[in-house]
Structures are given as C-alpha cells and as structure tokens.
C-alpha cells in the first residue's frame, strides 16, 4: 500500500494541478505538488529500508493490462533492491527540485502547468523503475519522453525552445523505435514480456540466432543491441546525444531533474535491470563500452557545459555496465543524481542572480555577491571531478578501476577514455567556475547591480543536495559496491563469475587511485592557468588551432551532419508530401478539387435553368425518350 501510494501520489498531484490549476491558483498548485512529491519521498524511505536493507523484495500486482492470446502484460510494481534504490533517488532529488521550482518559477505565468508536468514526470519515472515487464517499462519510457518534450518546450513562445523540444522528441523516437523492436524481439524469442519469465530462460537461448532485416545474427546480442539503441536515445549516448545540449532550453529545474538526475539515466537503469540478458551478450557489452566515449567541449552556455558533462558521466555509467560493473553504474547514477542536480540548480541560481543571463562570457566576478551559490557550485564541481571524499570520487573511481579490472581490450580502452574524460571534466568544471564567478565582471552595470542571492526556498534544496553530493558516496560505498555487495543486490543484478571486473577493482593498486586524483587536479590547474593566470591563452589557442577549436565548438559537427543526412532530406520529403502529396493530390482531388467540381456543377446546373418553357418541355421529352429507349434496348434483358 505504501509503495502504491509512493508511485501514484505524483500522478494525483499532476491531475489536481493540471486539471484544476487555474481554479485553485498558483500557490495551491505548488503546495499540492510539493506535498504529493514530498510524501512520496518520505514513503520511499521505509520502502528502501524494508526492501533493500532487510531483503523483502516484492511485486505488487495491480491489474492485468494486456491479455491477448499468448501475450500478457500485467500492471505491477516491482520492488527489489535495484528499483528501490532508484525510487529513493528519484523521489528525493525530485522533491528537492520541486521545492526549488517554487522559487525559481515564481515569476512564471503558468505555474500550475509547470508543477503538474514535474509531478507527471516523476510518476512516469517511477512507473519506469518499478516496471515488472517490458510493456510497463515502455510505458514509463514513453511517458518520461513525453513530459521531457513538454518541459523542454515549456516556454513554447520561444522559437528555440519549441525547436529543441521537437529535436529531443524526434531523436528519442529513433531510440524508441529500437527499444520497441527490442521488446518485440524479446517476445519472439521468449514468448513473454515479463521479466520473471524472461530472465530464467536467458541461459537456454545463448547461441540461438535470429533473422533481422536480412541479417542473421546471435539472437540475444541482437535483442540487447536493439534495446541499447533505446537506451542510447534516452541517455543521450553519442550518435543520439545531440538533443541533450539543446534540451537546456527548458527551465533550469527541468534540466536538473530530467536531463541530469533521472530521465537520462533511465538507459543505464534499463541495462542494469536487464543485466541477465546483457551478461550473456558480450558483443553487445563491448559495443556499449566503445560507444560510451566522451566529447570535449568549449561551450559558452553555462547550462550546456553541464549538459555535456552529463553526456560524459552517462558515458561512465555505460562503460561500467559494459564491463559488467552494474552496481558501480547504479552507484554512480545515484551520486551523479545528487551532484549534477546540485550543479544545475546552482547554475539556475546564478542565472537567476544574473537576471536570466546564461552566457558565461557575460558573467564573471560575482562570487562575493552570491557566496552561498558559489560554495554550492564548488561542492558540485568537486564531486563531479572526483576529488577525494566527495561522492563522485567513490563512484567514478570504482568505475575506472572496474574498467581496468575487466582485463579486456575494450576495458582498457574504456579505462583510458575514462581517465582522459576525468581530466577534461575537471578542466571544464573549473573553467565554468572561473569564468562565472571570478575575473572581471563582464556583465553590464545594470545587471551587476541586481546580482543577488536567491531566496531561501531555492537555497534550501541546494543545501540538501550538497549533503548528498558530499556524503552519498562515502556512506553507500561499502553497501553498493563493497566486498559484500551481493548481499545487498540480492539477485536484482546478475554478474556472471566470468566477469570479475568489480572484484579486481577492489584490488586495484594505489597508483590507479592516485592517478585519477592527479589527473583531476591537473585539469583544475590547467583551467586555473588558462582562465585565471594567463587569460589570453584560450583565445590564442583558439586562433592557433582554429580548425580544432571550431570542430569542438560546433560539437564535432554532429548537428550539421545530421542536418545534412537526415533533417534536410526529411524536411524535403515532408515538403514534397505536403505540397505535392497533400496539397496537390489529396487537397486537389479531395476537398479543394471536390469543392471546385461542385461549384462547377452548380454553375452548370444553374445554367440549365434558362427560364424558357420550351427548354423545359424539351428536357421533359428528352428524359421521357431516354427512359423509353433504355427500356426498349436494355430494360427487358
């Protein structure tokens, strides 16, 4: 009962605020939504203790959803260690963000709508993580995609926002198609979409092959890859990552909740959940690992910088998954939720302080004016960069060590990439801090005068999340990824004994740990040198290596490439279908054509009516003759 309430309270809040928001007013909507969310989070705590710590995993069957022939899909809430970790993370972070939104969105025109979307999103996210079968998973999956679209385009009167929301939706559609195909593949292969039925059957299906689009391949690998395409879309992995930076057009709390802490990690969650399948599909895991590479950046939008760091952090999680370090991935997912939400909300606080300015080039020198936010950004960045004893240190280290410990070629590749990414992450995190808070103010006088600390309703969630960013790693390390982690996960995650990357990770040599720290510190120092000491250096480098700079600045020209390969042809086809197919053929022959024919017929019919009696009589006689002729020739047949 507690668990059901935990999942459905946000839905209730969304319905109340969404349908009656105008009636009950802004304030009431905020209260209802925050209350629903907060209660849900409070309920998640005993659930977590009961399920994860005391080992009372359970599945609550609500009702039969689909029943058609062999195809069944119940609606059930599955609570095991994995999902209860997710539920706890999601509800707690979401609550903090809800409260923050009250302050951040206080000047917006449609507060009830915003709060309703946030609540609705949390509901979909919770159904996703508590799914008991692929159909429900897909429902939550599409649901979060929908709300993500709605929230990115929340300020739909901005052209860039609606374009970004469409981009996010369309790119996700590509992923979702893969996911849907994957689910179909699962059904064909196993004859069921329920996890409890599918997973025990997996070992028996190893080596079976399947036909797909003319390919003949290993069935499990194929299914896993298709499912992973879905995860790539949702979790913004390279190839399908282009929507995420643009998604920053949404309000900042949205970026924090959806595009950092929760939704984008759904792909990671999904792969962990399906660990029994991915474990026996080594090729699939290798591809996951290789794809989860990083992307170096010189972006100027404060939020976009954090967005790209999300891409790389998700990359960490994915290559952890790829080397069978699922617990490490989930561990990083959790710590990342805290510190990334903290970073986003901190960035939101900065934007708020700077009168809605998002460009870092127009900031600078404001750290004295907003010390609290400044401190929060430091904590978040330290956690992100993996500086010891902050949350990110534990989880990220674990992942890098697991990659090293995997002892495979792709593991080594992931390890190297991970270390490089750690340096880059540290570099651009501090680039952000230095550009935003230090140096000479680059904003105009008017804006600088108005720089002010955010209201307590925004700072309190920041403080709360900072606790998570500092302590979550330290507290949860032993439980999540320690030597006795198997007792904690209790079969909700399967790691075959052939894949001992996590065990090896525990025995990682000291130099490895030190190396990651050194690399991170190096990144910070480089940023300090480039942006504090020798401030002309970045510009000079940019001019010296102009092609490289442009290549990076334009995000590896992914957008241009996609524009050329997909968007423009699609628009052209669309235009052809619209102008040619719809306009000329359907409208021309259909509504407009028929209307024109009708008008023409009407005119002709009217012209028949000459007003002359002899014409009328003639028509009558012709009619008569016609009828008689008809009968004489055909009527008697």
């Amino acid at each position: 009962m507690l668990q059901v309430a935990c999942v459905f309270l946000p839905l209730l809040g969304a319905i109340i605020a969404g349908c009656f928001g105008r009636k009950i007013g802004d304030r009431a909507s905020q209260i209802v939504c925050c209350l629903a969310m907060g209660t849900s989070a409070v309920l998640a705590i005993p659930t977590f203790i009961d399920v994860a710590l005391h080992g009372n995993a359970r599945t609550i069957l609500l009702f039969e959803w689909f029943a058609s022939g062999d195809f069944h899909a119940p609606w059930a809430l599955k609570f095991d260690t994995l999902s209860s970790v997710m539920v706890l993370t999601v509800t707690v972070v979401a609550t903090a963000i809800h409260v923050y939104s009250v302050g951040y969105m206080s000047h917006d025109k449609s507060i009830p709508r915003f709060m309703a979307y946030l609540n609705l999103f949390t509901f979909f996210m919770l159904t996703l993580v508590t799914a008991d079968n692929f159909m429900q998973l897909f429902f939550g999956w599409e649901g979060v995609g929908l709300v993500s679209y709605l929230l990115i385009g929340f300020w739909f009167d901005r052209h860039s926002a609606s374009a970004a929301s469409m981009k996010a939706f369309l790119v996700n559609r590509v992923g979702d198609l893969g996911f849907a195909l994957g689910i179909m593949g699962v059904f064909i292969l196993f004859g069921s979409v329920e996890f409890d039925t599918v997973f025990p059957l997996v070992p028996g299906k190893v080596g079976e092959s399947m036909e797909f689009m003319g390919f003949h391949g290993d069935a499990l690998t194929l299914v896993c890859l298709l499912l992973f395409v879905g995860a790539m879309g949702k979790s913004a992995q390279i190839i399908l990552h282009t929507w995420l930076p643009d998604a920053m057009e949404g309000p900042t709390p949205v970026s924090a909740l959806i595009h950092a802490a929760t939704m984008v990690t759904a792909g990671v969650y999904m792969v962990c959940l399906l660990s029994p399948m991915f474990e026996v599909a080594p090729v699939a895991r290798d591809i996951v690992t290789v794809i989860a590479a990083t992307i170096g950046l010189v972006q100027n939008d404060i939020k976009r910088v954090i967005a790209y760091s999300t891409c790389s952090q998700l990359g960490y999680m994915f290559f952890a998954v790829g080397v069978s370090a699922y617990p490490a991935a989930i561990f990083h997912l959790m710590t990342h939720a805290y510190f990334k939400a903290l970073l986003f909300l901190g960035a939101g606080s900065v934007i708020h302080a700077m009168s809605d300015e998002q460009d870092m080039r127009k900031m600078g020198g404001i750290w004295r004016k907003i010390p609290f936010t400044y401190a929060m950004m430091w904590i978040g960045s330290l956690a992100l960069a993996g500086i010891p004893f902050f949350a990110g240190f534990y989880s990220k280290d674990m992942i890098i060590e697991s990659a090293w410990g995997a002892g495979t070629g792709v593991g080594q590749y992931a390890f190297v990439m991970g270390v490089v990414a750690a340096a880059l992450t540290a570099f651009y995190s501090w680039r952000l801090i230095f550009m935003t808070f230090h140096g000479k103010p680059r904003a105009d006088h008017h804006t600088m005068e108005h720089v002010h600390e955010s209201p307590p309703v925004m700072l309190a969630p920041l403080a709360f999340l900072s606790l998570g960013a500092i302590f979550a790693g330290f507290i949860a390390y032993e439980t999540f990824v320690g030597h006795h982690m198997a007792e904690f996960w209790r079969g909700s995650i399967l790691i075959l004994p052939q894949h001992p990357s996590m065990e090896h990770a525990h025995e990682a040599p000291l130099w490895l740990k030190l190396m990651t720290i050194v690399v991170a510190a190096g990144g910070i120092l480089a940023a300090y040198y480039a942006y504090m000491v020798k401030t002309s250096l970045p510009a000079r480098l940019a001019t010296m290596f102009r092609p490289v700079y442009l290549f990076l600045y334009n995000k590896w020209y992914f957008d241009e490439l996609y524009n050329f390969l997909f968007v423009r042809p699609a628009v052209r086809i669309g235009r052809l279908l619209w102008k040619g197919g719809d306009g000329v053929i359907i409208d021309g022959l259909g509504p407009n054509g028929l209307a024109a024919v009708t008008v023409g017929l009407a005119r002709r019919a009217g012209r028949l009516q000459t007003g002359y009696v002899y014409h009328y009589a003639f028509a009558m006689l012709i009619g008569l003759v016609g009828l008689v002729t008809w009968y004489l020739f055909y009527g008697r047949l």
Binding site: A605, A617, L632
Partner: protein
C-alpha cells in the same frame, strides 16, 4: 354495372363532405364578398380538420367503392391526413400574408379546398381514370393559385409555365394510360395487377412503354429530375404561402399516387420500374444538391431543396418493400413539417412592408431576432440531416431500407449528395449567425406564424424523444399497401 347504394358511399364520405362544404363556402363568399375572406379561410381550415377526423373513422382495410375506382385503406388514411395537415398549415400562413399584400380574396381558400379534394381523390384512386380526374382537379386549382397574384409578372409567369408544362405532363400521363389500357385491357389497379402478374409471355412492350409515360407524368408532379424544370421558376414566382403549399401538400399526394401506382398495379413489374425510380432518385438527389449551391434567392433554393428531398424519399420507393415505403412515409411526414416551418420563417422575412427573399437578407439574424434565427437554424440542420433532429431519421430510414434491399450504390450516392446539400443549408446558418447584421426584419411576425413555426420546430426538435407513433403509423400504412 355499378348499382347506386347510399351505404356504399360511406368510404368516400370525407371527400363528399369536403366537396359540399366547398360549394357552401363558395356561396357564402359570393354573397358576402371579400369581407368574408378571413371567415371563409378559417372555415376551410375547420373543414380540413373535420375531414381528417372523418377519414380516420370511415376507412377500413381496403374498402372499395364507386365500382372499385375508389379505395380507402390505411395508406390512404396516412397520406390524406398528412396532405390535409400540410394544406391547413399553408392556408393558415397565407391569411395574414394575403391581407398584408392586399390580395385577400375569398376564392383563395376555396381553391385550396378543391386542390386538397383533388389530392384526396388521387390518394384514394384505384383506377387510372380516377387517378387522372383527381390529378386534374388538383392541378387546375394549383395553376390558378400559382398565378394568384395576377398583377405580378413573376406570379403570372409562374402560373402560365406551370400550366403549360402541366398540360404536357398530363398528356404523357394520358398517353401512357391509353397504352396500358390498350395492351392490358383494363384500367383498374387490382385487375391490372392480376393481368400483369399472370401473363406468361412476360409483360407486353406496350405496357412497358405505357408505364414509362405514366411514371414520367407522375414524376412531373413530384418534381423529380428530369421533369423538375418548372419547380424553381414556380416556387420563386408564386406568392410565398402558395409556394409553401406547393412544397407540402401536392408533393405528398403525388408521392402517394406514385407509390400506389408502382406498388399496386405494376407491382409485378418491380424489376422494370425500379430502374426508373433509381435513376430519377439519383438524378434528383444530385441536382437538388448541386444546383442549389449557387442560388441567392431563398425560395429558389428551397425549390432545389425540395427536388433533392423527393430524391431521398424515392430511395424508399426504389427499395420497393414495406420497410422502404414505410421509410418514405416517415420521410414525407418529416419533410412536410420541415418545409412548412421553413416557409413560415421565410414569410417572416419582411422589411419596410415588403417581402425580401435573398439569403443575404438573413445576415446577422441571430443578433436582430435570435428566436427566429434559432428556429431557422433548427430547420436547416434538420434538412441537412444532422442528428438528433427529425431530418436525420427521415434519411436514416430510407437509406436503411435501401441497404437492406441491396441498393448500395443508391444509398452511398445519397449520403454523398446529402453532404453536398449540407453545404447550402449550413451556409444559411452561417449567414444568420456569423455575418454582420443587415437591417433588422420587421416585427412582430404575427401570432399564427409564430404558432406554426413553434409547432413545426418543436416537432423537428423533439421527434427523437418519441418517434414511436410516427414510425408505427407509417409501418401500418405501408403494410396496408402491400395488402397484408
């Protein structure tokens, strides 16, 4: 030979009553002059009501009299009462109109009465000759009332056109009858049926040609395509209450006649005449839908609309079974109510003491006279066949019958043309509700008109609540026609 017997006259008692009342009222009019017009008019309405009552009393299952030339059956009862209702309502509407226009003469109601008497005889005809006599009695009166406004060029033109073309159609009818008589040897419906159905070598060509001529003559009376050409000119030219009358009562009588002739004597030739009816029905629906679109005069538009409606009603006849005829009866009933109501609304279109007849004159009526606009809108929606208004049920039953009879093409084309027709009905609603108001129409519109509009609008609106009596009445009437 026919032996005179007072008791045998009883089935025709209502008609005899009407004829005698008509003569009495004529005398009253002649002696009292035009001062008595109003009294005579209401007296004629009273005669209609009494006749309707008498009809329900004297008829039984297929009672014959006048040596089998006259039949009073359930079908006749239904159609006669419908025709009487249409005549009475049209006459009531005309009283105020004629007085305002200064053409109130006592002959007017008398002509209505005799036209209606002609309809009664048509509906009850059981012999080709009786049919012709009734038809001519009705038509002669109608020619006169069409040209009733002698000093108006359009009215006299309408009367003259109607007369010339009517004479032509009468000629066709008579020629057809003579062919049938020549080949079948009888003019009585029941014996004709026996002769034609017992013929072993098939139906003679002469009878077939005769049937075509008769069908053409009757199609003229119901203004079905291609014998419809008179309709728009006459509807436009005749005084509006006369147009309302034309659209209601004579249509009912002529349809009844067409149904009786086709189902009765020529019942055995169903396969042959079905083709005529299908063609005529299709052509009428299509022309009614397309030709009305360009009309700006509302009476002319209603003429095309009535052509279209006859097309839909004939769909029921084309099905040729009880369900089809029942559907046709339901359709005609609803059509009469909608038609009378619409013309009552058109009669309200007065401005500065003159009638206005253009659709554009209705602009913004919803703001200047919301009640009238609402009633008008109800009739237009109903004619377009939009549920839950009565017009929908009319179409529904004939199309259902057509589908059951396997006439899919007819039903589909019927539905498509009704979509086209919906355009000009809805355009009127659009003009009334969304266009900038024109100068307001004259008010008040008069009690009688208000009552007529209110009653027909309520009927149109509320038929959906209790359609049972109408449906069962129509079903009983249809069954009696098939002799069951």
């Amino acid at each position: 030979m026919y032996a005179f017997n007072v008791a045998s006259l009883i089935p025709a008692l209502p008609e005899i009553f009407m004829a005698i009342s008509g003569m009495v009222l004529l005398m009253v009019g002649v002696f009292r002059g035009d001062r008595s017009t109003r009294a005579v008019s209401w007296a004629v309405v009273a005669v209609f009501i009494v006749t309707a009552f008498l009809i329900s009393r004297v008829s039984g299952p297929g009672v014959l009299t006048f040596d089998g030339m006259f039949i009073a059956d359930g079908f006749a009862v239904f159609m006669k009462q419908l025709a009487l209702a249409g005549s009475a309502l049209a006459l009531i509407m005309s009283i105020g109109f004629n007085e305002r226009e200064g053409i109130a003469r006592f002959e007017f109601p008398i002509l209505f009465l005799y036209a209606t008497l002609g309809m009664m005889l048509m509906i009850s005809a059981n012999d080709l000759l009786a049919l012709y006599v009734g038809l001519e009695l009705q038509s002669l009166c109608l020619y006169v009332v069409a040209a009733y406004r002698r000093d108006d060029l359009r009215s006299s033109e309408a009367g003259l056109k109607y007369f010339v073309l009517g004479a032509l159609s009468s000629g066709m009818l008579l020629y057809g009858m003579s062919m049938v008589y020549g080949f079948a040897g009888t003019t009585r419906f029941d014996t004709l049926f026996e002769v034609l159905s017992s013929s072993e070598v098939g139906v003679p060509v002469g009878v077939l040609v005769g049937l075509v001529f008769i069908a053409a003559g009757l199609a003229f009376k119901v203004s079905a395509v291609p014998f419809h050409m008179w309709t728009p000119d006459v509807y436009e030219g005749a005084p509006t209450p006369v147009t309302a009358f034309f659209a209601a009562a004579p249509k009912v009588a002529a349809t009844a006649l067409l149904v009786r002739v086709m189902i009765g004597p020529f019942g055995a030739m169903f396969d042959q005449w079905q083709q005529i009816i299908v063609f005529v029905s299709l052509a009428s629906m299509a022309l009614g839908a397309f030709a009305a679109i360009n009309q700006s005069n509302i009476k002319r538009l209603m003429a095309y609309s009535s052509i279209g409606h006859i097309g839909y009603a004939l769909v029921g006849l084309a099905a040729g079974d009880k369900a089809g005829v029942g559907g046709l009866l339901v359709y005609m009933t609803i059509y009469v109510a909608m038609g009378i109501g619409t013309f009552a609304c058109i009669l309200c279109m007065r401005r500065k003491g003159r009638m206005v007849e253009n659709i554009s004159d209705l602009s913004g009526l919803a703001r200047t006279n919301p009640a009238l606009a609402l009633a008008f809108a109800i009739f237009m929606f109903s004619m377009a066949g939009i549920p839950p208004l009565a017009g929908f049920f009319g179409k529904f039953f004939v199309f259902k019958a057509a589908i059951q009879a396997g006439l899919y093409t007819l039903a589909i084309i019927g539905v498509l043309t009704s979509v086209v027709a919906a355009f000009y009905y809805l355009r009127i609603v659009k003009v009334m509700y969304f266009d900038e108001p024109a100068e307001a129409l004259e008010r008040p519109v008069g009690t009688t008109l208000t009552v007529v509009i209110g009653a027909t609008a309520l009927f149109t609106l509320l038929l959906v609540v209790n359609p049972g009596p109408l449906l069962s009445g129509a079903a009983v009437a249809a069954v009696s026609l098939f002799g069951g």
